[in-house]
Symmetry: C2
């Protein structure tokens, strides 16, 4: 536990940009020493990411163009929570929409904060097992490209710098530990 | 490599909020199917995070209040790049400012993208060795609280959900692999 008083108090808060995706706020705050400063940050509804693992051991990944980075990224399926939605519901919905699979079981591996300097986003990480291919493949999101990879190969891609997305990296490491019986004992 | 054309083209770009910290843009873009949409995102200068490891094996962590999350987080020292700055320079500067240590060597473990949905931020991850305590402790940032932890204990804190910051989690896993000789062979 901290021995210092590190907390900051909100003096006032204002929405400086509310777009289609981003909700940006600027608050005036009081620092622990009594001084004042400004904090700017994104309000985010939260998200879920999952490692879809088939019976044959293959994992389902996506290639997805990420505009802010101007590149195609290798990622696990993920998505934002709808208002009031349980992250497990989000996970099942996004899995179906992005890969065309449904899953029987979701194991909650943990929770991460991707962007603590300027966002309140949190992401719940799941392992999805008991996958079943849906009939209608045409409904799959047309702007992502699903593909399969073994866990060991994916771990190699992290080391080679071919996977740099944090939620994907952590979900894979936690899955590795979980499958070895070294996680959430 | 993708077989689909996943790229999006910029039609126009506008700065919708430029604050003290955040630079928020909104672009009109053309989708691969010819449709149009809007992309909103943060422009970020990039950052460096480091695992400061002392000769006795102890790692230096920080407790830091994160306003967006309204809580004190357990993190490794990190900081944003100044304009034109090399990430290694950032790492050395932040290490001194936040912990009072200088380091002899920095091993570059890799690069991560924390927030691919709405930010172009990238973070370079280092292991910092050959630590030396500076004389002047009074210069250390007064709003962070440094403390020491063994690597094994820190890995346990990830599993217990006491460490949820993504850059810290990944830096610790890469350090574990590096020290075992399993990283960047």
């Amino acid at each position: 536990m901290p021995t210092k008083d590190l907390r900051e108090k909100t003096i006032s808060s204002v929405a400086v940009f509310q777009g289609r995706l981003l909700d940006v706020r600027r608050d005036d705050v009081e620092l622990p020493d009594g001084g004042h400063t400004v904090r700017e940050y994104i309000r985010h509804p939260g998200a879920a990411v999952m490692v879809p693992m088939r019976e044959d051991g293959k994992l389902i990944f996506l290639r997805q163009f990420r505009y802010a980075l101007d590149r195609v990224m290798v990622e696990l399926p993920a998505g934002k929570l709808d208002p009031g939605e349980d992250p497990e519901t989000t996970a099942r919905r996004e899995l179906a929409e992005e890969t065309g699979y449904t899953c029987e079981t979701l194991v909650r591996l943990g929770l991460i904060h991707p962007c603590i300097g300027y966002s309140d986003e949190e992401i719940v990480v799941y392992l999805a097992q008991g996958l079943e291919r849906r009939e209608a493949e045409a409904e799959v999101d047309e702007f992502v490209e699903p593909f399969e990879l073994e866990l060991d190969e994916a771990l190699g891609w992290i080391e080679e710098g071919k996977i740099t997305d944090v939620k994907t990296i952590i979900a894979l490491y936690w899955t590795e530990r979980y499958l070895r019986g070294e996680w959430g004992k």
